[in-house]
Homo-oligomer: 331 residues x 4
């Protein structure tokens, strides 16, 4: 499968590596609005730099991987669909609900293999958790607790264009919750604060939030987000049911343990997403390629992007209006 990469930034480089390491996928080209970035990455892999127009008009390219800036996603996604190319798009499709829905309508008209970059679904540990849960290990699911904290807050200028913590950061956890629940979320209730960096508050955003979800059958979810955990990327999931509990725990580089006068010391969690989800990125590309080859839906698709954005939207309203928000108000 020949895949053109759109976007040669940090996450683009991760995807280039994943495509290149895949046994049957091939990196076909690199594109980037910033040509030096495109050229540097392209030369590293010995592939041509192409313009986006060239990519979409090429007969030689099977799929595109959209890793460019957020505002370009929906347009590239639609062009991929219209040109009949499979597409793996980094989240989000768009920060705006209306624009996102329009995109889904185009995809319905021009059905192509479309995967959305909810990388965490591809993490081996979370996969194992879901498999164990689906096989009945915890009986009937009742509560999900997701702890998700970044190591460091982003700069204030990033905040401005991010769409806010719910659309930018929590959206990964909202998708995880939706995926694990396996049934629609019906209610969202939120508390939030700015505790980490006053500049975030001045930009009109929050940096510490608690999001409670309730599903159609009454299952409860708590998501706890913070923009700063001094010990690294805190990525834990607990699912609790009638017959027990499963916990996905933080991962470390090694299992080395020190015992000394100050106590028993294990390694802190891996620092950030590039380390913690390195296997997930490879698996995400593998699932995309397999979905295209087998003409099946990938593990996460465009509709999952819409669903998560709706949850983020509901969370924002809940925070602003200080009330429980029904998803029926949004959909």
């Amino acid at each position: 499968m020949k895949i053109a990469l759109l976007g040669a930034g940090r996450i683009g480089r991760v995807h280039a590596r994943a495509i290149s390491d895949h046994p049957t996928a091939e990196l076909a080209s690199v594109s980037d609005a910033f040509s030096a970035a495109a050229e540097s990455l392209a030369s590293e892999y010995g592939v041509p730099v192409l313009s986006a127009d060239d990519v979409f008009s090429s007969n030689d390219i099977d799929g595109v991987l959209i890793a460019s800036s957020t505002p370009t996603h929906s347009d590239f996604l639609e062009r991929a669909a219209r040109s009949g190319k499979a597409v793996l798009c980094e989240k989000p499709i768009d920060l705006d609900l209306v624009r996102t829905r329009h995109c889904l309508a185009v995809l319905e008209e021009y059905p192509v293999t479309c995967a959305l970059g909810f990388n965490r679904r591809h993490d081996p540990q979370f996969s194992a958790l879901k498999t164990a849960m689906d096989s009945g290990r915890i009986g009937k699911l009742e509560m999900i607790t997701i702890t998700s904290r970044d190591p460091e807050p982003p700069p204030a200028e990033y905040i401005a264009a991010s769409g806010g913590i719910f659309r930018d950061m929590s959206i990964h956890d909202l998708d995880m919750a939706a995926w694990l629940l396996g049934e629609p979320v019906t209610e969202v209730t939120v508390s939030g604060s700015c505790l980490v960096d006053p500049a975030i508050g001045e930009a009109g955003d929050l940096d510490s939030v608690l999001i409670n979800l309730k599903s159609a059958s009454g299952k409860l979810v708590n998501i706890s987000n913070s923009r700063r955990a001094c010990y690294g990327y805190d990525q834990r999931i607990e699912v609790f049911g009638s017959k027990g509990m499963l916990e996905a725990r933080n991962e470390t580089d090694t299992q080395l343990r020190f015992t000394g006068a100050e106590g028993v010391v294990d390694e802190r969690p891996q620092w950030f997403f590039l380390e913690r989800y390195s296997r997930a990125y490879a698996q995400e590309v593998a699932d995309f390629v397999a979905a295209w080859q087998e003409n099946r839906a990938p593990l996460a698709g465009a509709h999952d992007g819409l669903a998560a954005l709706e949850l983020a939207e509901a969370a924002l309203i809940s925070y602003r209006e200080g009330r429980r928000v029904l998803l029926s108000e949004i959909r």
Copy 2:
């Protein structure tokens, strides 16, 4: 210190043992509306059975420990105050806010050493957590996560008289949150379900709840309660701040670990509060005795009981009305 015990039920027996084991306290008498229970426990410790009237009129008794049924608490508490006796009262003072406030007014008029049975504040692990936090170990506190699950749901008939999950079960966690925060809670936001036992729902109560609190300076708290954890009493606290995180973890009888074909197996958590908080009950009596001897306030007093009940009340309103409730509405 000579202490009369009011109430010879399960928790009364725990307190009798704690008083008897204390180096300077002495079990003076046992009282119970059910005389056979009083006689059995009294004879076990070789002390007389007294009526409540005799207790309050005795010149020989320094303090009373109220471990009788909930509806008797506030009356006994007021009689203790009026008769100038120190009092350690099991929680709650009363399920009703107005009655509770009246009680506090009496205590103000007749000031005696008055301790309230928030046993968890006396747990060595939670004590160590608070000490470490207060000494700056985690920097500035930002978020508290309390997981609190009972091993088995109570019978439906218990539910009816319990005052509901918030006043009966969550109240311990609400007090823990208030104690750890060290500043007033200003907002309460709740989600809840009946997932464990339909009989609980039919009795008009919930068995699975998520309670979010926000404090005056914006700190966030999540409390997760369930009436049933098949693996035992799940009692965890996590405090998260600018310089790290402290976790109080579940306790086991031993540290024995088995490794076999099925994995690496540690003991499950201790089954319920009598095992988990055995040291806390002894410490609670010790603090009560010391507070009386040193004429100082005990670690938890009547005003803490009122504060926790107000939080439970706010939680109930938040659940019923689907909105954020300000504590200023209650106080």
Copy 3:
């Protein structure tokens, strides 16, 4: 059961507390060659100071607990037997094999309830390990690994009178091995060094040793001893068999965990035997009292003391002669 305490030093005080806390045992008297120590401890418990002669001639005393200095043990033990009193004797009976065997001969002639202070057999965790092993949890036992390290080396003057590391320190581990094996040890092979404190080497002793045992059916045991572990009392046992492994792990005061920039930090092990084996000492007295009441053998008796001393003797020969020593050479 009325118990006279011989020896009012550090370990004597531990036993006084255990006797006093026991529901049916009673501390009858305290004796010590150093009268001020005897008087101080006796007055603490409101019991008389007696001479050893008075103790053994008293008709009012059911048992004696020998916690005096090592050279007095065997004589007191024999006098207890001859006077028909039950006896719980701190280890060792004597540092000399011949003297020890003589003592056992007296006990055979004057059979009384005789317990030896191998406190670790009474530890709840090691008990649970043995129970699980005996119930078949690990299948057929193959290997035992005992790690046993003191927090700090004793002063050089203690070393001189101690009988050396094998008779003084390893003897606890040798008894543990014998107890867990449940069959005779047939071979001992040793390596050793002086690494911690040169003064120990100058006193002709070792401070770091590895002892390998082999039992009649070929099971293997490794004991690893050091006189100094900067992180506290390191007391671990691993039993390995055809169906799995059981590990008794170090114990801590609480389960509090800190996560920060330096890693994930748990408490270090409890500091020394008074903390680590506090429950074991209480249980040891309880077993002694029950053995006397039920006229049964206690969990550890005089013959276990002899067996462990023989193993220590074999270990010393193995180290000195650089060879495998057969127990048949000693017995």
Copy 4:
């Protein structure tokens, strides 16, 4: 660097993958006495099948990786040296000490980059342990404890040609001990049994051994080996010193934890060396390539193979003769 692979069996396939994944190394050819195996692996990587003669006479090949059967190692190693090719040879060089020494003499005459396949030195966790130890984390090293157990015993026919447990299995641990000690081993003392499979005993071998080492400065090492651990590949190392202890612990596929009525269950250790040391094999090839490029010694070389074989030889004598063996007797 163009590398010819000699040996297309299980471990040969692992090395083929590692060479192929390396950014600057290239799999040049595959050779195997069993031509179908060679062809299958060669076609998988699109490389030619060559005879060993062709490999050694080729001007186009920079290095050879010897993964053929043990009896061929020393001959291939010498031919590689004589033909001026770098060589990475699976352990052992030979099971015979004299033959091994001859090989080293040839290598001295024809110096090429020569790496020996002690894969564990390249394991990230053991590397981190050594780095931390060398940086002073545990102060002065005093004792090393190595637990090393295979999941399943090999078939009896394998035993016959294996050279026995010391030369076949313990040799990895002996090399690890030597590497971590950083100073010569001077004494070896051994206990052993046949507990797992009587067929192993009938073949004249042991399946459960305890090996104690002592180094020039008196440091002590215990190695505990078993041919069967029902829970998987048990690979633990503990280094203990004046300022603390470091433990390399078993690794699992994920950090998923289940808590239920039966306890708290973590994954068992990874099953065997292909899983546990997958990263080590990649790192071993990387070190070999870098050593060749930088003209430096690789992390493990031929003299390390000799040293470990001498230790294995001493262990065998110690077991047979029931005595401490000095390395000076062997060297």
